[in-house]
Amino acid sequence: MDFIFDLFSGANIRWVLFGSLLLGCASGIIGSFVLLKKQSLISDAMAHAALPGVCIVYIIFEIKSVPMLLIGATITSLIATQSIQTIIKHSKIKSDAAIGIIISVFFGFGIVLLTFIQQNSSGNQAGLDSFIFGQAASLVRSDIQLITVGSLLLVILTTLFFKEFKISIFDPLFAKGIGLPVTFFNGVLLALVVGVVVIGIQMVGVVLIAALLITPPLAARYWTERLGMMAILAGVFGAISGASGAVLSTMIANLPTGPMMVLSASLIFLLSLLFGSKKGIALKAVRHL
């Protein structure tokens, strides 16, 4: 317990708080576009596929250098999305089955590699496990700085390209017509999603990070009809979920960080579903009276 009190009163917790807040915010904003592109579950596949990447880098280089591990995660995430596209394009398998195949096989492969590392490596593999569900308490200063700076960068990039994303998702043909490089912006969005997944997995874990992309924007939909407002609200919701989840899990022993963040987001979603000012159930009921 002492350790937790130290953590909470120390400078570290401020970093954790700040990092999780920004991470939630970035994922909420980027998630808004993912939601509109109907790619929520693809982002889940990308998250799960990060695990084998982390493990492969560890096996090859035998070091736990976080940036290197994350590069591995990026590569396998991208391979996963590409595989999903290939399966849909070149066979009669539909997108839902393609996503399911990639999620389970890549993650299964990740687990295999994880157990391989546990059997064969010389000791210091502790920590790779926490990539599955995330553990804020085990993060060191440099990890959190990476999360903070990375999230900030993602938020800035998304804001810069806001207009372009909007038009190329809503009406890609029109966007092409007015000379926007739609394929390029699709690529940028993909990169942003990979960005959230990769910098977030240490804290939230590969299994649940997609929820931070899916749930806050969905909750925001119950309050507004406008994309700009939706992205802002999703960012705020994401930030609240991230921060509250991280704080709760550092305060109470054994509580995994990722699931706590997701539960906070789910709670916000539930409240929005019930009381949202645009489509909330309570509102509908009142109108019926």
């Binding site: 066979s91 398998i93 839902d96 299994v207 997701v262 489509k279």
Partner: protein, 290 residues
């Protein structure tokens, strides 16, 4: 029977049960609902523990069945209220799964369930958890549960074969000629939940998802006939289990993970070399034409 044989038998039963049930979901374009249910049954299992204070078969099956149907129901409700289906699935299953994981961390000390177990299962422990009545041992509980669920599934598919087939191909026409389409939908969801929970304890969520989706999708690439597709899915499930187990023992790695990988390898081969649909095969045919 020896230790190894029990494990292989468990794996084969998982492959068979999930393969057959899952192939129906692949055809109905509901694979991700299978993914969702195989995560959320964790909540059912934890819930059953809170109610019955044990991890026995029956309360677990009931709890999982309820949560499985609830998952399908929530997704359906959100979808019909205007949320796009993939986001609806995403929000429901992550919420319920997260709740399950958090609850586990409160009771983790009292039971052998933990979050890692939930994902990867512990098939290696299966042979030690023996069903004993009056001091006589009847083999591992997991095998019994999987066997019973498999038999129930086969009976249900046999009874409702025509209804399942037509409501999968053309739900509107099915409804028109009086097939209870909604009932069939929830029947399948119940079957998925039962298969999942029976398999969950031994192989974990990941292998359940893999076994539900991958063999069905592989068989879909290999055959043009509904009945053969069901049988083939089961066979591929079994083969994945056997090959996966062999690889796992060879490299001394996670058995469940290796079985998922083996299923993936079978899919890859079908994707590339299926006589009717394979990518490479079609490329070669095109070359011959031109």
């Amino acid at each position: 029977m020896t230790y190894t044989l029990w494990i292989i038998l468990t794996g084969c039963l998982v492959g068979l049960t999930c393969g057959v049930t899952g192939s129906l979901l692949v055809l109905r374009k509901m694979s991700m609902l299978a993914d969702a249910i195989s995560h959320t049954v964790l909540l059912g299992i934890v819930g059953a523990f809170f109610v019955s204070h044990s991890l026995n078969g029956l309360p677990m099956l009931i709890g999982a069945g309820i949560v499985g149907i609830l998952t399908a129901f929530f997704v359906e409700s959100l979808h019909s209220s205007g949320v796009q289906s993939d986001a609806a699935i995403g929000v429901v299953f992550t919420s319920l799964f997260a709740l399950g994981v958090v609850l586990i961390s409160f009771i983790g000390d009292q039971v052998h369930l933990d979050t890692k177990h939930a994902l990867m299962g512990e098939i290696a422990f299966v042979p030690w958890d023996i069903l004993e009545i009056n001091g006589v041992s009847y083999g591992p509980i997991a095998v019994w549960m999987l066997g019973i669920v498999f038999i129930i599934s086969i009976i249900l598919i046999w009874i409702f074969y025509k209804q399942i087939k037509i409501s999968t191909f053309d739900p509107q026409f099915a409804k028109l000629i009086g097939v209870p389409v909604v009932f069939i939908h929830y029947l399948l969801m119940t079957m998925v939940s039962l298969s999942t929970v029976a398999a969950f304890d031994s192989v974990g969520a990941i292998l359940v998802v893999a076994m539900l989706i991958v063999p069905g999708a592989t068989a879909y690439l290999l055959t043009d006939r509904f009945f053969i597709l069901l049988c083939l899915s089961g066979v591929i499930g079994i083969l994945s289990a056997i090959v996966g187990y062999t690889l796992a023992v060879y490299w001394n790695v996670s058995i469940a993970g290796a079985m998922a990988c083996a299923a993936g390898i079978f899919f890859l081969f079908a994707f590339l070399f299926s006589p009717s649909n394979g990518l490479v095969v079609r490329k070669i045919k095109n070359l011959r034409y031109s």
